[in-house]
């Protein structure tokens, strides 16, 4: 459903609109908060407060950004405040990534590269990989975790993510790349 139509229907107490709102907005919002806060109770409180505040004031929602951007931005700002971090700083050089120890001074692989092996026909294999991804996401630095979740787990577009997190596109790409590289390294270590 188109967002402005969804909001109009929410104002009119339309139940199917509310169900869609829960499924397409509140559920991802809660999952986002939970992955970042790593605490179910805090995530429940944060998601509820954010959504209730929106519902109380939805007539005033001007639609300057998408509803998803608006809600996710509120939650990400609250989390950054809670964790006392700022996302707008440019990432430091990649030298701290262990991954770059795998290259010699000439930039070539020091050891033969081991590809990730999994059997796409076997769900156990896929589930194991997803489990490794989930576990690794939890230990990523908060800024990388936010970008990875929004981009690779929620499938948001880059401009939406930049609006939500108030970061530049190049900053987004750096953080995303680091997150992906770290996850890939963890998978290789465990397989």
């Amino acid at each position: 459903m188109d967002e402005s139509l969804l909001i109009d229907k929410l104002i009119l107490k339309d139940k199917s609109a509310f169900d869609e709102f829960l499924s397409n907005y509140v559920k991802p919002l809660y999952n986002f908060a939970k992955r970042l806060l790593q605490n179910e109770s805090d995530a429940e409180d944060m998601a509820s407060e954010t959504v209730l505040s929106f519902l109380s004031n939805m007539r005033k929602f001007e639609g300057r950004s998408s509803l998803k951007t608006y809600l996710f931005r509120i939650v990400s700002n609250k989390i950054c405040d809670k964790k006392r971090i700022t996302l707008r700083e440019s990432p430091t050089e990649d030298t701290k990534l262990d991954f770059f120890n795998r290259f010699d001074n000439g930039g070539e692989w020091t050891n033969p590269y081991n590809k990730i092996s999994y059997n796409p026909e076997q769900s156990a294999s896929i589930n194991e990989l997803m489990s490794i991804i989930n576990n690794t996401v939890e230990i990523l630095p908060l800024n990388q975790r936010m970008v990875f979740i929004l981009k690779d787990m929620e499938g948001l577009e880059n401009d939406e993510i930049c609006n939500i997190l108030d970061i530049s596109p190049s900053n987004l790409r750096v953080l995303l790349h680091r997150a992906r590289v770290t996850i890939r390294e963890k998978i290789e270590a465990k397989c």
């Binding site: 509820s48 290259f103 590269y113 787990m153 499938g155 596109p169 996850i183």
Partner: protein, 79 residues
């Protein structure tokens, strides 16, 4: 020519279509000539594909009940 290290650094930008023409040519040349890097690129692609498939948790009953209750009250008060 790109080194493998440089190739690895550029992968996300490649996926995003943000390489300059010149860099993309060098990147794709390296992709054709290197033994390890094509696999590395495919592995990052797998990470992305698998991540998209990870299911979200369902909303806890507590949140759903709270929101349903508040939704009814908010709308009624405005009528």
């Amino acid at each position: 020519m790109l080194s493998c290290k440089k190739f690895a650094e550029l992968i996300t930008e490649y996926f995003e279509g943000k390489l300059t023409l010149k860099t993309r040519i060098l990147f794709e040349l390296h992709l054709r000539m290197c033994k390890g890097c094509p696999q590395y690129l495919e592995d990052l692609r797998k990470v992305i594909l698998l991540s998209r498939k990870i299911k979200r948790e369902e909303l806890p009953e507590k949140i759903t009940a709270k929101l349903i209750s508040s939704f009814s009250k908010i709308s009624l008060e405005k009528m």
